[in-house]
Amino acid sequence: MEEKVELQVSGEEFERVKNRVKGKNYLLDLERLETTLLLLKYRHLLERFNEVETRLSEVQRHWESLVEFEKKAKEDKTFLMEARKTLNEENILLERKVMGVESDSQRRETVETTHG
């Protein structure tokens, strides 16, 4: 069975199609049609190229800042862990000193009370 294709056009376009079809000249325009399709495809590709290029430069910029952030966070983690270790050790020593000072003064107080 023969294939049927339906085209919807505006009133003005309908008249144009009618005139072109009347003389059957449209059948001679296949070269111009191919040039038109070539140009439309070229324009579409150019548009897509610009879109992808813009998106890529955005993603590259974010990527660089993410790489930088990850590197900094890694270095900071080492630094913070080292600081925690150092300060913890110092606090244990200072705590002992405070305990020592407190027990010394307690002892002194006891001696003073006994002798007093």
Binding site: E6, V9, E34, T35, L38, L39, L40, E70, K77, F79
Partner: protein, 147 residues
């Protein structure tokens, strides 16, 4: 192939008979340039042709197509690497946030003990700078705005 053109306020109809050899050519053109047969027929029947003032050739289209593919591939590769790194950075920042909470308490204890023992104050500025930075880290995934 029969093309039925409908248009105008009264839905006028026009039937156009496309010879088989022309139909074959139109199908090939549609396929080669990535258009639908309906689009190709519309351009042909309406006579909406473009002038090739820039002198674009088929080779230019192929070259541009290759460039687009290459850029797209680069973009998809970078987007593919993006999520694992973002995940890694996020958990590193969370670790640092937890370390900062612990360090804030340790510093407070250190200050108290030093004061009790009459020792000079220690310089915590570098650590405190990092604590401040990571405590402002947004758990929803955003990086801290500034150090």
């Amino acid at each position: 192939m029969k093309v039925i053109v409908k248009g105008g306020k009264r839905w006028k109809r026009l039937t156009v008979e496309i010879p088989p050899e022309v139909e074959g050519r139109l199908r090939k053109l549609a396929n080669d340039y990535g258009f639908t047969l309906v689009d190709v027929l519309k351009i042909l029947l309406k006579g909406d042709f473009l002038e090739n003032r820039e002198g674009i050739r088929r080779e230019d289209v192929d070259e541009l197509q290759r460039k687009v593919f290459s850029l797209e591939r680069e973009l998809y590769e970078l987007e593919g690497k993006w999520s694992p790194l973002k995940f890694k950075a996020y958990y590193l920042a969370l670790d640092n946030r937890n370390l900062s909470i612990q360090l804030a308490a340790i510093i407070a204890q250190n200050k108290r003990l030093r004061k009790k023992l009459g020792l000079p104050k220690r310089d915590y500025s570098e650590i405190e700078g990092k604590i401040h930075y990571y405590l402002s880290f947004d758990k929803s995934g955003g990086e801290p705005s500034s150090e």
